[in-house]
């Protein structure tokens, strides 16, 4: 142990070591992303011969030098002079990645908008109104949270099947139109809004729907944004549910589209990675823009993103 009589120095040293270890951990966290991007910029032959390197041959100085000296190098292979983003373009042109991305956007967007509306209405009633059976109904709602998704997969499919919605847009989104957790979270938030505003509005003759719309919702923006972001992310990342509901490829979201590419014999891995990058970027961008809502939301509630 270092000089215990100098706690400031020791604290600095610990801080430095912590930084070093955390940096190593960060490399472990980022490496798969770097690998994915690197592989998405390789041609199939380049990926097949060199699965290790992060950097495609055309950006490797060693290969460049060999090529300039006229030696045999990967830059002489077919495709080394193709556009760097060819896999991305091909993914869209031949693999309909654009359709998958649009589908993902529509599913996640529709679920988010409807779930926020439906959940907020219910949360408002539970938080600010009085009615018979309130406690029982709320407990019943909360109790649904104990049913895990893997257990519900087949049961929910049976219901969607009974409703005749298998292999349709509605079949994918309908179960996501409301969620007990969202109701619970918004109710907590609504209950903390002071009642004076509501009383004043009521004296002015406002109905409950107008109070909800003009007073409660505007005051609850942070909670709505947090819940909206989480709902969108869960919708974008969802895989098993659309996988079992859909069979028509035209309806596939990106996650299911990717698993389809993987199943093809002689899968084109660089192109799969290009599609993976395109499928991961929107959420990463969204996360970077709205980080404070997300991290705040997690610390508050232990909310799950996937």
């Amino acid at each position: 142990m270092k000089t215990p009589d100098n706690p400031i120095r020791q604290k600095r040293l610990v801080g430095l070591w912590a930084f070093v270890i955390m940096s190593l951990g960060a490399v472990v966290m980022v490496y798969p992303y770097a690998y994915m991007v690197g592989a998405s910029l390789k041609t199939r032959k380049e990926f097949a011969t060199d699965k290790r390197s992060l950097i495609p041959p055309r950006f490797q100085i060693g290969e460049r030098l060999k090529h300039m000296r006229g030696e045999d190098s990967a830059l002489a292979w077919e495709g080394a002079d193709w556009p760097v983003l060819k896999n991305y373009v091909d993914g869209i042109v031949y693999g309909q990645v654009d359709v998958f991305l649009l589908n993902s956007l529509i599913y996640a967007g529709v679920v988010t908008v409807i779930q926020l509306t439906v959940n907020a209405l219910a949360a408002y009633a539970f938080a600010r109104m009085t009615f018979r059976g309130q406690g029982v109904l709320f407990s019943l709602l909360l109790a649904t949270m104990m049913l895990p998704a893997a257990v519900l997969l087949v049961p929910q499919f049976l219901v969607v099947n009974a409703l005749g919605l298998v292999d349709s847009f509605w079949g994918v989104v309908l179960p996501g139109f409301a969620g007990a957790f969202g109701v619970f979270l918004l109710r907590q938030f609504f209950m903390n809004i002071p009642g004076e505003l509501e009383h004043a509005a009521r004296l002015d003759g406002c109905g409950s729907l107008r109070i909800f719309w003009h007073i409660i919702l505007p005051l609850s923006k942070p909670a709505l944004i947090t819940l909206g972001l989480f709902t969108f992310m869960a919708g974008w990342n969802s895989f098993i549910w659309p996988l079992v509901v859909l069979s028509d490829q035209a309806y596939y979201p990106l996650t299911v589209g990717l698993s389809l590419f993987r199943e093809e014999s002689g899968a084109d891995w660089p192109r799969i990675f290009a599609a993976s990058v395109m499928g991961s970027l929107p959420l990463i961008a969204m996360f970077l823009l709205a980080q404070r809502y997300l991290i705040g939301g997690i610390s508050l509630s232990g909310m799950k993103a996937q």
Binding site: K51, T130, L158, S276
Partner: protein
């Protein structure tokens, strides 16, 4: 008259407000479970619908039949859960403690470690197929394949759980540590006698959530290994999936298995509900 605030009055319009959420949530939870229980008592084909009533035969088939893969898949799943829990706890808590101490870049670390939580699991599984292949083909051997998909699960979950631990750690008053320091406690003693006991709620919460999540592991097995090699990554959720959607006419059997999975998880779910209720976000 609407002059008196309606705190003590029955407001029937509230039923209208809760109806959409309530109906959807109930239909896709308890009603679904009820329907699947009914289905589990029958031979059932998703296309042709109800077949013969078979009583508990589907359950018996899963539990007692010698050729049943249920126990194998349950054993695999349990092994995965153990590895995932150990892996997540042994990474996310130390990472959280280090992150707080780090001299630079705490916010940056939080961001980077969180990235896997917002990346589709399908994408993660696809990339890790190749990363794991470079490490001596962990996925190709029956002895290591389950460990390999657990590594992926831990990599994906540790950053998220680190954030939970960070929140828990920041709730521990610094005074405790200062007092311990005065009494001459070393770091290890601080960890065992202050951090762990005061972090108990978060520890239980994280452990239970990881257990419940890990019992449902599916995507890695589906994308990376398809249950192989030699059924070493055959997990319960994958079994349910295959019987329900890949094999014809096994919907009743799959429903029975889903109910069995629920039974296995029930204990943990009860603990989760207790913890969830006791957390401070519940009614103040």
């Amino acid at each position: 008259m609407a002059t008196r605030a309606g705190r003590h009055r029955n407001q029937p319009i509230a039923y209208l407000y809760i109806a959409p959420a309530f109906v959807i949530v109930m239909v896709f939870s308890f009603v679904s479970m009820g329907l699947s229980f009914y289905v589990s008592l029958h031979d059932w084909d998703p296309l042709r619908g109800r077949g013969e009533y078979v009583g508990l035969a589907n359950y018996a088939r899963a539990v007692a039949e010698p050729s049943s893969v249920f126990w194998l898949s349950l054993r695999n799943t349990t092994t995965y859960v153990v590895m995932a829990v150990i892996g997540v706890l042994c990474t996310s808590l130390p990472l959280a403690m280090l992150c707080r101490r780090s001299r630079y870049g705490q916010a940056l670390f939080r961001t980077l470690y969180f990235l896997p939580s917002i990346t589709p699991m399908v994408v993660i599984a696809l990339v890790w197929i190749w990363l794991l292949q470079q490490w001596g083909g962990l996925l190709d051997r029956p002895e290591t394949a389950l460990l390999a998909i657990a590594i992926v699960g831990v990599w994906q979950a540790s950053g998220y759980n680190m954030l939970l631990f960070l929140a828990g750690l920041s709730d521990i008053p610094q005074d405790f540590y200062d007092a311990a320091r005065v009494d001459g406690a070393n770091r290890l003693q601080e960890f065992w006698h202050i951090t762990i006991p005061l972090l108990r709620n978060t520890l239980v919460f994280v452990t239970v959530m990881v257990i419940i999540g890990a019992f449902q592991v599916f995507t890695q097995a589906y994308i990376m290994t398809r249950g192989g090699p030699e059924r070493s990554t055959e997990v319960v959720a994958f079994q349910v999936f295959k019987n329900a959607f890949s094999y014809a006419g096994q919907m009743g059997y799959a429903s029975a298995m889903a109910w069995l999975l629920f039974a296995v998880l029930f204990v943990f779910i009860m603990i989760q509900m207790r913890v969830f209720r006791s957390r401070r976000i519940y009614d103040e």
